[in-house]
Every structure is written in structure tokens, then in C-alpha cells.
Amino acid sequence: MRLLSAAVLALAAGCAGASEGMEPTHMPSEAQEDYAVFARRCSKCHSLARPLQSGIESDEWWQHYVARMRAMPGSGISADDEVKILRFLHYYSAEQHKRHAKEAP
């Protein structure tokens, strides 16, 4: 058991610095504020990995998705926040799309 704990803690220490979300300083300044709202609101109920790794790229799809999340009890996602979150997700999806296009053979 001690060995297992030590191994897990060593692994964690080695990986420290990873994040569920994104590094805002790597984004254009106009996206940073939107990201902050996205991170603050969405991490209230679930890991940021959920939306960021969902593979969704369509704006229309995000609209349905965020509208459903906004209606979750206590989400705290106001109509104003919804606009900022969607703007960030649009930016993020476009960046992902560019990255995938570059990686494609």
C-alpha cells in the first residue's frame, strides 16, 4: 500500500503543471476574458475536459449544448455569460479544426 501511494504521488509530482483547462496566456487577449467565464461557470459542475475533449466543432451544436447547460439548476450561466462562453467555444473549435487540418496527412 505504501509503495502504491508513493508511486501515485511520484507520478502526480512528475505531471504537476498539467491542467484540466487551457493556458490563457497562449490565447489572444480578446479570448482570455471569454475563457475565464467559460472556466468559471462550466467547472462548477464538471471537469473542463468534458467540453474541451468532446470533439464538437459546430456552432449550432454548441448553442444547443450550452442552452441545455444554462438551464441546469444553479449553473449561474446568465444570458450574458452564454454569449461569452459560445464565443470562446467558437474560437476553441476553430483552433482545434486548424490543428487537425495541419496534422492530417
Binding site: 471537469s47 475533449q53 444554462r70 439548476p73
Partner: protein, 387 residues
């Protein structure tokens, strides 16, 4: 493979396929999570090994969920999981949202109760274990206590009407009212039987033909750009025995603060539980001539999640249970029994969607256990992944 698990998988796949064909944009989302946790309890003795006190060893909780946005009004969720009771279908429902203020939820789901249940998935809460009022098998002496007040999740079949209304950009009011099958117990009617309540053997059909009714009301107020506060109240009432004579009533209140990424939460639950008193000889204490055929179980917790960096959270929780009322003659509990737990832990992000959880627990029981011991220790080391 369990036949019902096979059926659940086929239903999930069928729903996803059906809606996938109909929705031009194929608006469905597949999500999942898995937590592998080692719970070490160093209290073994020759007569009562630790494994008989809690689930001492590796445990696995895994879930797979399909969410389908059929249109801007209609969505469906199907989730299958493996964990506390083997394979389970905790979600298979449709939401028909006429407006933000009026949504009809029909199918199998956990009805709205309390603050915690939304985060019951191990990927959505940072502690290794659930708060004691919502415990479903990770507490020490769980059989003596028959788990917490309302073990979470509590999937059931029925109808819920819920909605949310924003007052400007500052305040969000949520409500829910529902009718579901309700918890079950056997004919002896001494307490809720949580395994029977989730059993698939009776095709998820109620044992007494009377629904349990419940409601929840909560308000979230934004106190600035980075802070909000939520408070809510919940309640449900129904019968649990096949004869439809014995009632249970669960009430709860919750308060949660969030400042940036720091969360502070308080929650209290209480369950008033009637029992069959037709055979006084099975109880330890004499039954009063009137009004003594019930017990009350309270549960509460206070917890804080404090991020230390973008990848490390520090966690602290105090939680407990208090039970007042008669007990079986052989029960190690007494007329008034209590348990308090202190948990200190951390959650560390290894990779996006992949987290290690470590926590230590100190348990303090009002009643003596094996060897007269009133306290115990527990250690959790776990990995949780989500996508």
C-alpha cells in the same frame, strides 16, 4: 453478460442511432468516466477483518452516457454505469423544454434533491468519497448504519417538471416537482432497502403502486463577476412497504458559495422513517404506546475545495450522521448514535481529463466497534478519468 445489461446497451445504442439518423447535424455527445479507488482501512483484527467493515480494497465506478439534442426543445440522455449495484441504468429520459421555465422530464432519472446529486459522478466531484448523507457504500460500518440518509445517485422512474428563471443577469431561480416510484422495503418494513430499491428484478416497477412525491426550490445569486451563492430546500415523501402503510419523509437544505474556483458547501438532510412495530420483541427498547414507531436519521457536511494551482486542489470536509430512534435487538447502534468523519485530501490533474485523488479520513463513532474501538482511519488513493 447479464441479459438486462445487454438490453440497456441495445436501448442506448438504438436511441443514439435513431436520433443520429433523424437529426441532420447529428447532435449527440458521448461522454464517460471511470474511477479506480483503493480504500485502505488499517483496522484488521482476527475476528473482524477490515473488509467486513467497509469496502476495503479496489473499487471501480464506470459510466458511459449518450446525450442527444434532437432539437432546441427535445433532448434525451441515456447512461449506463457499473459500480455500487453492478450494472445500472441511472439515466434514460427525455427532456421536453417548452421554455426555460417549463421542462418535462420523463423516464428514469435521479429526481431533483439537494446540491450534491448533480455532481455524484466521481469525475464531477473531487473527493474520493461522497458526503456521508449521500454515501452509497464507502462508509465504515455501512451495514450497521444502512448507508446514509439518501444514497446518491437515486435513479427512479417517473415524471419531473422543472425549470429555471433568470431575474436579470444576477439571480437564477430553479424549481422541480416530481412523482416517481419511490424507495422500496420488504414486508417486515424496518427500513428502506436500497438494494431492492434499485433492483432490476421487478422491471423497475414500484412495489406498492403509490408514487413518491417531491419538490426542490433553489436560488443562485451572482455576487460579482467571480462569486455566486446558492441556497436551496428539498423534500420528498412516500411509502416504501408493499402494503403501502409505512411512510418515509426526506427533507434537506443546502448552501454553497463559489469564489472564482474556490467552493464552500454546507448541506443537511433528515429522513423520518416509520417502521413496522407489530412485533415489539425484535426491538432493543420498549415501544411507547403512541408515536414511537419511527426513527430519524440526520446527515450533514461542510466542505471546501481550494485550488492551489491550475492542477492541484486541496480538499477538506467534515461530515456526519446522527440517528435517533429504536433499533433491532442485535444492532450495535443505540437509541441515539452518531458518526463524524474528517477528511483531508487532494486532487491532482495528471493530464486533461485524468486526475489522481488522495485522501485520509478520521472516523469517530459514538458506539464501540470491534475491540471497543470508537475511532478508525481510512486512506483513499484513486485515479479518475473522464472524456
Amino acid at each position: 453478460m447479464n441479459a438486462r445489461w445487454l438490453v440497456a446497451t441495445i436501448v442506448a445504442g438504438g436511441l443514439a442511432g435513431l436520433f443520429g439518423r433523424r437529426a441532420a447535424a447529428v447532435e449527440r455527445n458521448l461522454a464517460g468516466s471511470a474511477q479506480f479507488d483503493y480504500h485502505f482501512v488499517p483496522n484488521s483484527s482476527s475476528t473482524l477483518p477490515a473488509r467486513q467493515v467497509p469496502l476495503d480494497g479496489f473499487t471501480t465506478e464506470a459510466a458511459l452516457k449518450v446525450a442527444v439534442d434532437v432539437s432546441s426543445k427535445l433532448s434525451a440522455n441515456v447512461k449506463v454505469c457499473f459500480g455500487c449495484h453492478g450494472f445500472e441504468l441511472p439515466m434514460a429520459y427525455f427532456d421536453y423544454r417548452v421554455a426555460d421555465e417549463l421542462n418535462f422530464r420523463i423516464g428514469r432519472f435521479s429526481p431533483s434533491f439537494g446540491n450534491f446529486n448533480l455532481r455524484h459522478d466521481p469525475a464531477n466531484h473531487k473527493f474520493s468519497s461522497k458526503p456521508l448523507p449521500y454515501d452509497m457504500g464507502r462508509m465504515l460500518r455501512m451495514r450497521e448504519w444502512n448507508l446514509g440518509v439518501l444514497p446518491s445517485p437515486f435513479p427512479d422512474s417517473g415524471l419531473e417538471i422543472n425549470g429555471t428563471h433568470w431575474f436579470g443577469l444576477k439571480a437564477q431561480l430553479d424549481y422541480a416537482i416530481y412523482a416517481v416510484n419511490g424507495f422500496r422495503g420488504d414486508a417486515s418494513g424496518q427500513d428502506l432497502d436500497f438494494q431492492q430499491s434499485r433492483s432490476r428484478d421487478a422491471y423497475y416497477v414500484d412495489n406498492n403502486g403509490r408514487p413518491t412525491l417531491g419538490a426542490r426550490l433553489s436560488l443562485t445569486v451572482k455576487a460579482g463577476e467571480k462569486a455566486d451563492v446558492s441556497f436551496g430546500a428539498s423534500g420528498m415523501h412516500g411509502t416504501f412497504d408493499p402494503e403501502n402503510k409505512l411512510t418515509y419523509t426526506i427533507v434537506g437544505a443546502d448552501l454553497a458559495f463559489r469564489f472564482d474556483r474556490t467552493n464552500v458547501r454546507f448541506e443537511w438532510l433528515a429522513r423520518r422513517q416509520e417502521f413496522d412495530a407489530s412485533d415489539p420483541s425484535i426491538f432493543r427498547y420498549a415501544l411507547p404506546s403512541t408515536g414511537g414507531d419511527f426513527f430519524v436519521k440526520h446527515g450533514g457536511y461542510a466542505e471546501i475545495e481550494q485550488p492551489l494551482s491550475s492542477s492541484v486542489d486541496l480538499l477538506f470536509r467534515v461530515d456526519g450522521l446522527y440517528r435517533k430512534g429504536n433499533v433491532f435487538a442485535a444492532s450495535p447502534l443505540r437509541r441515539q448514535s452518531a458518526v463524524t468523519r474528517f477528511t483531508l485530501g487532494t486532487a491532482i490533474v495528471l493530464e486533461r481529463g485524468y486526475r489522481v485523488k488522495v485522501s485520509g479520513e478520521y472516523w469517530d463513532f459514538s458506539d464501540p466497534g470491534e475491540g471497543g474501538r470508537h475511532s478508525d482511519l481510512g486512506l483513499h488513493v484513486g485515479l479518475v478519468g473522464t472524456f
